[in-house]
Symmetry: C2
Subunit: 332 residues, 2 copies
DNA sequence: AAGTGATATGTTAGCGATAACAAAGGTGAT
DNA sequence: ATCACCTTTGTTATCGCTAACATATCACTT
């Protein structure tokens, strides 16, 4: 920066002002400086800047997976909300593991984000502690944790799954099965299974039919294999709820391979309203979740919280509930 | 850090040493320090550390889209290669726009990454200049640019598309169409179209049948609509090559809606070997690209380059060609 | 002409860590 | 007992920037 200052014949402070906006600077001086910057190929060193200004200009967001349009939509909502705020989004992916999440929380915190957004409300003990002491706004998303760290933007996965069961019940299905992964690693998936069980009980359907197969998040292929097991174990099953649309699609194609008409032989429903569900043939019944909105709302909440902290106001913990809805399609 | 030092009864330098590895420190002292760190909930400030040590400990990677399993695989390959090196991957997504890429290059460079990985070889003028002067290793991936910035890990999208055309020719198809997006925004998509045209010419098939529809990357739904246009404009078309598997799947379901047997009435091929192509019914012929390997190789190359620069050795520009292969399936 | 206020620029002192060197303490050989 | 050498810890001086305050300049008022 002092090279630029020398070249432009000003002090480094003036260069610093010229390179950020909002500072009062003569337009001639700014031009001189910009020319020098251009010629020298100078790029501001933000780590030094943040050290001095105590503002790093970024927000950390941890999502389970990159390759999932649901979380990608949430990330997009976040990005859009942050647009124009001068904050950048830094993504980390946890691969559905809370241990990996803990690592990421720590490495993000080391870089001093101005806020941190995590997916879900279940963390390792140390991860939870890190979040509690983060000293910046924390937002948990995609869930309604019983004891949130602070802010929440999400919905109840269990309730959403219940709604789906009730919809199937309304369509006359009684022998309803559930297909999901083998562990509780995907906590939202586990909540959906819980919702399935609760709804079945509430409707007086005693016989649950649950297939746990594959490490979450389960793939299309695994969805197909899980369906095969489901009908093998309970040949009378009338409908299958899958933990996500991807596995639902796999289940659907397994039926097609067997030349079983869907929904006549067996109905299939998914979760998440991925594009594939509205595009497949037949189209797949699913639960639409307002993924983009989760990100958007989290972003706006986070801006309010940062603003509040900067003004040394106390910011009340907020919980924003987002919508979901059963989207009835051809597969049921 | 001085709070921790005071609590542990040592100097800040000793704390600094205890929190990084490789430094010689008495085990008793380390324990005392760790206890103090724990009690105070202290987290190292990396921006201060990097300012001092001139090592930021991260690598920037820019990919077009989060929600694309191909790039997600590349990101995974990169992450795996970086495992244990002490470097973290910071992802940015360009949304298939080189203008957005330019912005991201600059904001990444401000944070002083130790290397930068970009997707594709086409950049804005200023983006290119920023990369040329980055002062850290630059790797372009997923492409073989005619004038690379420095290192390259990729394959020729045009050649891969040519191979697919030749495969279809071998299967007896002559009236082969191509479905892609409307602009050259997705440069890899544009290269694939170019390859299609070249192969058609080389095989003496004068009549190309190209449908450009939708903003890249085109979706499943758009793939379906594009197929409708293709068969409307050229009812005699025998096979459709789609710019990606997603649009190929959309095209396939459009056929299913019309009750057209695939490949009997029309053959369909995609690009990228997404999971859906091996799972759909019928399965879809595609070009398998070694996505994970691109990331992995880029990561390894980047570690070599960083190592070289640190030792002040000159590092020769490397080009690593990755594999691709036509995967014949039921849809052709 | 002196005073007032707005605008533009410079000066100084850190931000929180680490590099580089210095010093203290302990070990074993002679 | 002395010396050389290794391990462990401390001291000092930055890293590159910006906050906060100080100063200079100019236009305009009274």
């Amino acid at each position: 920066m002092s090279d630029v200052a020398r070249k432009a014949g000003v002090s480094t402070m003036t260069v610093s002002r010229a390179l950020r906006d909002g500072a009062s600077i003569a337009s001639g001086t700014r031009e001189k400086i910009m020319k020098a910057v251009e010629q020298l190929g100078y790029v501001l060193d933000q780590s030094a800047g943040s050290l001095s200004s105590k503002r790093t200009g970024f927000v950390a967001a941890l999502v389970p997976s990159l390759n999932n349009s649901n979380f990608a939509d949430t990330a997009r909502g976040l990005t859009d909300a942050l647009q124009g705020s001068g904050l950048q989004l830094l993504l980390g992916y946890t691969d559905y593991s809370i241990e990996k999440e803990e690592e990421l929380i720590e490495s993000m915190l080391r870089r001093r984000p101005e806020a941190i957004v995590v997916t879900g409300g279940k963390h390792t003990l140390r991860g939870r502690k890190l979040l509690d002491n983060a000293g910046v706004p924390v937002i948990e998303t995609w869930d309604l944790p019983p004891k949130p760290v602070r802010h929440v933007v999400g919905f109840s996965n269990a309730e959403a799954a219940e709604a789906l069961v009730k919809y199937l019940y309304g369509r006359g299905y009684r022998k309803i099965g559930f297909i999901g992964g083998t562990s509780n690693r995907d906590t939202r998936g586990a909540d959906r299974r819980l919702g399935y069980e609760r709804a079945m009980a509430a409707l007086g359907l005693k016989d649950t039919r649950i297939i746990s197969f594959g490490t979450p998040p389960i793939s299309m292929k695994q969805g197909g294999e899980a369906l095969a097991r489901l009908v093998e174990q309970w040949p009378d099953v009338e409908a299958a709820i899958c933990v996500s649309d991807l596995s639902a699609f796999g289940a659907l194609t397994e039926c097609q391979r067997r030349k079983w008409p869907v929904p006549k032989r067996i109905a299939i429903a998914g979760f998440g309203d991925f594009e594939i569900s509205s595009c497949s043939h037949p189209t797949i019944t699913t639960v639409g979740v307002n993924c983009y909105d989760i990100g958007r709302q989290a972003g706006e909440l986070l801006l309010r919280a940062i603003e509040g902290e900067r003004a040394h106001k106390s910011v009340a913990a907020e919980t924003v509930m987002t919508d979901y809805e059963v989207i009835a399609r051809e597969s049921t």
